[in-house]
């Protein structure tokens, strides 16, 4: 038997108190783990989606709102920019890809997004290209012989039950709570369904921009050729731009910002600004979960103090057998640390299990895909912190054991 064996046997002897103390630590650590995973994954998710475009160009206004609307489909319609702005960007040699988006309709709460075939060549998020799970992309729109083709995001398809070949009518407006009018003039036919990307694209219904324009109430010059004389220009809500070289990013950004009809926003910068803005709430949530671990560590202390008579007796016996005071104190701290280690380990497993089991629900509820990780640097920190906290909680009883005199300790009884 060694000192570690002695500690384990002592813990086993007080198994009820040990289990309850470890349970408290475990639940606290599980909460910290789950909250940290949610924080980390949500940030990674938003930043990943933001990285899909170098610039988002939209109407003059708040750049954060432009990004939230165009990239995450969140918030009110921010207005439009002329079609010519998109076309000039698409023709700009500094631009590798310019994908237009036009919003204004929904189907079953999912946004109908007018766009072009270029959308199928872009990234949904950093490193995740837009791919079809089944069917084909929509074809070019012919105003003389309209065929309203739509491609559904994975969540939109799953939630509506629509498959390739099915038909639906969109509703005019973005407010899912309002009583919206149905576009009876256009019956959309589903021609493809996208692979899941973990972005707002999953909740989208992509349709050809020309077809979108052709519908009632979308544009003063709906269905007519662009740029025809005497007609109001057609509009898009935003354009996602990928520059041909990072060197073009800042000049292009400044150029658009200086223009009178459009505003350029850098999605990654805006998302980071947003996280800085809501960071306090984020930190508060994390602090509360840390506090739970601290309270659990106090539970370890209370549990140890409750058995102090027995511990003094054990300490006296150890001293009588020749143990040095610091060995006696070290064993008490070791017992507290071992309780913390057992609880923290269980908490890490529980926390990651919660994330893994709840990942689908969280993704469904928030649109944020959670990637369960087995062991990260944060876990090691949380584990070490919980063990250190419990060892600290064991210090007071350890000092009591350190000071125990043999005669006193053996007269205390149990």
């Amino acid at each position: 038997m060694n000192h570690e064996g002695f500690v384990l046997r002592s813990l086993r002897h007080r198994r009820a108190a040990t289990l309850l103390s470890a349970l408290g630590i475990g639940l606290g650590v599980a909460l910290v783990t789950a909250v940290d995973a949610l924080r980390r994954e949500s940030r990674a998710h938003f930043e990943g989606a933001a990285l899909a475009a170098d610039l988002v160009v939209g109407p003059k206004g708040d750049p954060l709102r432009i990004v939230l609307g165009a990239v995450f489909h969140v918030g009110e319609d921010q207005g439009t920019i002329p079609e010519s702005r998109w076309r000039s960007l698409a023709a700009d040699p500094r631009v590798a890809r310019a994908v237009p988006f036009a919003f204004g309709d929904t189907y079953a709460g999912f946004r109908v997004v007018g766009t072009t075939e270029a959308a199928f060549g872009m990234e949904a998020r950093h490193g995740t290209p837009v791919r079809l799970a089944e069917g084909t992309p929509f074809g070019p729109f012919d105003p003389e012989k309209p065929g309203y083709e739509a491609v559904l995001g994975a969540t939109a398809a799953a939630a509506t039950g629509l498959g390739v070949g099915d038909h639906f009518h969109a509703e005019h407006g973005l407010d899912a709570r309002a009583d919206l009018d149905e576009h009876e003039e256009a019956e959309w036919r589903v021609v493809g369904i996208l692979e899941r990307t973990g972005t707002a694209l999953d909740r989208s219904v992509l349709v050809p921009l020309e077809a979108f324009w052709s519908m009632e109430g979308h544009d003063p010059s709906a269905g007519k050729a662009a740029g025809a004389e005497g007609e109001a220009p057609r509009q898009v809500s935003a354009v996602a731009v990928r520059v041909a070289s990072p060197a073009f990013l800042v000049p292009l950004f400044q150029e658009i910002r200086a223009s009178e009809d459009a505003l350029a926003a850098r999605p990654l910068v805006e998302v980071r600004n947003l996280f800085d803005l809501v960071g306090n709430a984020d930190r508060l949530l994390f602090a509360v979960s840390i506090l739970v671990v601290v309270v659990a560590a106090v539970g370890v202390l209370v549990s140890m103090v409750n058995t102090m008579n027995e511990r003094r007796r054990d300490a006296a016996l150890m001293r009588a057998l020749g143990a040095r005071r610091r060995v006696v104190a070290g064993l008490v701290v070791g017992e507290a640390a071992a309780t913390g280690a057992a609880g923290a380990l269980a908490g890490l497993v529980l926390g990651h299990a919660l994330v893994a089991v709840g990942a689908a629900r969280v993704a469904e509820w928030s649109g944020i895909p959670m990637r369960p990780a087995l062991l990260g640097p944060a876990d090691i920190l949380v584990f070490a912190g919980a063990v250190a906290l419990c060892a600290l909680a064991g210090l007071a009883p350890a000092i009591g054991a350190y000071r125990t005199e043999v005669a006193e300790g053996l007269s205390g009884g149990r």
Binding site: R12, A320, L321, V406, A407
Partner: protein, 227 residues
């Protein structure tokens, strides 16, 4: 000339009195115990018997006087050295609460080697042999709660000699036992001490225990012995 295991001269140990001043807990003029002898130290409660054992084990220091145990001037040693000395050369048996409740009988013996810093591969065999010698070979895996008081004291005796001490100090080792168990434990102590070649000092106030020893000394008489 016989070797001396214990030599005390002019020893005094005091404690602060609750109302101020000091209470003399122990006073010994001169006392010597020959190595290998077996002595009953007799005294009533509060006479300083336990304080004397603490001083002899190096667990307490006298305020004044000379304490030489197994050739070591104990007050001159730092605490860590006294701990080492006790673990290696002194075995202790108390009246009750002798055993670690979390450990089995066998593990309680192994703990003696562990805390004395003398754990070795031979400990398991030594513990088994000692348990057999005290008649508890079949109870090796039992925890104290599953043993009778007499059995617990037998385990305590076995543990006290686990590290082959030269001095065995016992504080009322039969105080919580009935008459038959008391005689059994006294016989065991004397036999084991003899077999191990250890000096045995048993503190008691029980005349039946005193009668079982070849020599006894009253703690009251030690106070008056010439230094």
């Amino acid at each position: 000339m016989a070797e001396i295991a214990i030599r005390l001269e002019g020893v005094e140990r005091t404690y602060p009195a609750p109302g101020g001043g000091e209470v003399v807990a122990l006073r010994v003029g001169r006392w010597e115990v020959e190595a290998g002898s077996q002595v009953a130290l007799v005294g009533e409660s509060g006479s300083g018997k336990s304080t004397l054992l603490s001083v002899l084990a190096g667990l307490a220091l006298p305020d004044r006087g000379r304490v030489e145990v197994l050739g070591q001037d104990l007050p001159a040693l730092p605490e860590a050295a006294r701990d080492r000395f006790r673990g290696a050369r002194v075995g202790l048996v108390f009246q009750s609460l002798n055993l670690f409740p979390a450990l089995t009988a066998r593990e309680n013996l192994l703990a003696a080697a562990l805390f004395a810093g003398r754990a070795s591969r031979e400990d398991g065999a030594r513990a088994d042999a000692l348990l057999e010698r005290v008649g508890l070979a079949g109870r090796a895996r039992h925890r104290p709660g599953m043993l009778s008081l007499g059995e617990q004291q037998r385990v305590a005796v076995a543990r006290a000699v686990m590290n082959r001490p030269a001095l065995l100090l016992c504080d009322e080792p039969t105080g919580s036992l009935d008459a038959s168990r008391r005689d059994e434990v006294v016989d065991l102590l004397r036999r084991v001490a003899r077999e191990e070649g250890a000096t045995l000092v048993v503190v008691t106030h029980d005349p039946a225990v005193v009668a079982a020893f070849p020599s006894s000394v009253s703690i009251a008489s030690l106070a008056g012995a010439a230094a």
